[in-house]
Symmetry: C2
Subunit: 154 residues, 2 copies
DNA sequence: TACATTAGTCAACTATGGTTTACTAAAAAT
DNA sequence: ATTTTTAGTAAACCATAGTTGACTAATGTA
């Protein structure tokens, strides 16, 4: 394999490009979120918890189960986010052992601001691609996510 | 913001979906590469070096500069990959301080096998999307990469 | 020729994001 | 009622991926 083939192959792999763009966006997303929340201590690991917390509140154990990590590690991250005033806790009325985790929806560090940060990146994409192209790309990429989440081997 | 809005917004963000699919593919890519090379010790950090090594050979310092990390850390990873027989070193005839890093192109652990591993993931995508759709997706995603690499701020 | 810079390495340290072990308290099962 | 399981936490530990500082040897420059 010659150099030119190598370079060609790298650019020609959709997988490769998807990994790359995912990382680039993630980098920006973290920066944007830190900025939105005015919290430089916000780390990747904190953001990674977001998708597993429902608006109706989710217990620490449930978040851990969904994410596939120990509840100890989730517990620590949640406490830090409570300190940062991004989340708050409420006793589960059904089970007094359990603590439900919620997003703060008022105050300076609401989840809405986090979304605005993410959306500013989408804004950039829309500006470059146009609304129509953005929408069709979204559909396509969502299909990819579907494929990789449903496929178990290969 | 209600739950339904939240879920809708998450699914509707191209950024979010791109981050997600990138991670899912990366996960599979690492598994596939470990398998291709029959080297369970192969780590993410090793794979991350690949894009910075040319077929004509690249010095440790140059790889470090390209990747934006210290040459000490690159040096260590390169040594490990030499042990794994993925790379080999050759003295630079122009500068006897410098060591050029090359991909092994013969033996059991060639870069070709690494590509086959990555390509098997692309195969999966082609099977699900069809050739035409794959190609148009590739073009689109490559545009995204371009956007995020060229844009410096928002 | 002497001095500064660069390539590479080693060892010690650091940050991150976990896990494992050990514990308390509440709930569920027998 | 006793035992077992579950929720949460704290502390110690671990792997990964990097940094910084100190050094050698080769190169480049005044």
């Amino acid at each position: 394999m010659k150099k030119s083939d190598f370079e060609k192959q790298k650019g020609a792999s959709l997988s490769h490009q998807l990994i790359k763009v995912g990382r680039l966006i993630n980098e920006r997303g973290l920066a944007a979120a830190r900025n939105a929340f005015h919290i430089p201590e916000l780390k990747q690991s904190h953001l990674d918890l977001f998708p597993y917390i429902d608006f109706e509140g989710t217990s620490v154990s449930e978040v851990a189960k969904r994410k596939g990590v120990s509840k100890q590690s989730v517990s620590k991250l949640v406490q830090e986010m409570v300190h940062m005033k991004i989340l708050f806790l409420k006793k589960d009325p059904e089970d007094s052992r359990s603590k439900l985790v919620f997003f703060k929806t008022s105050g300076p560090f609401t989840i809405q601001k986090g979304f605005e940060a993410l959306m500013s990146i989408d804004r950039l994409l829309i500006d470059h691609l146009g609304e129509k192209s953005y929408t069709s790309a979204l559909k396509k990429v969502s299909d990819f996510v579907e494929i990789f989440q449903s496929e178990n081997q290969n």
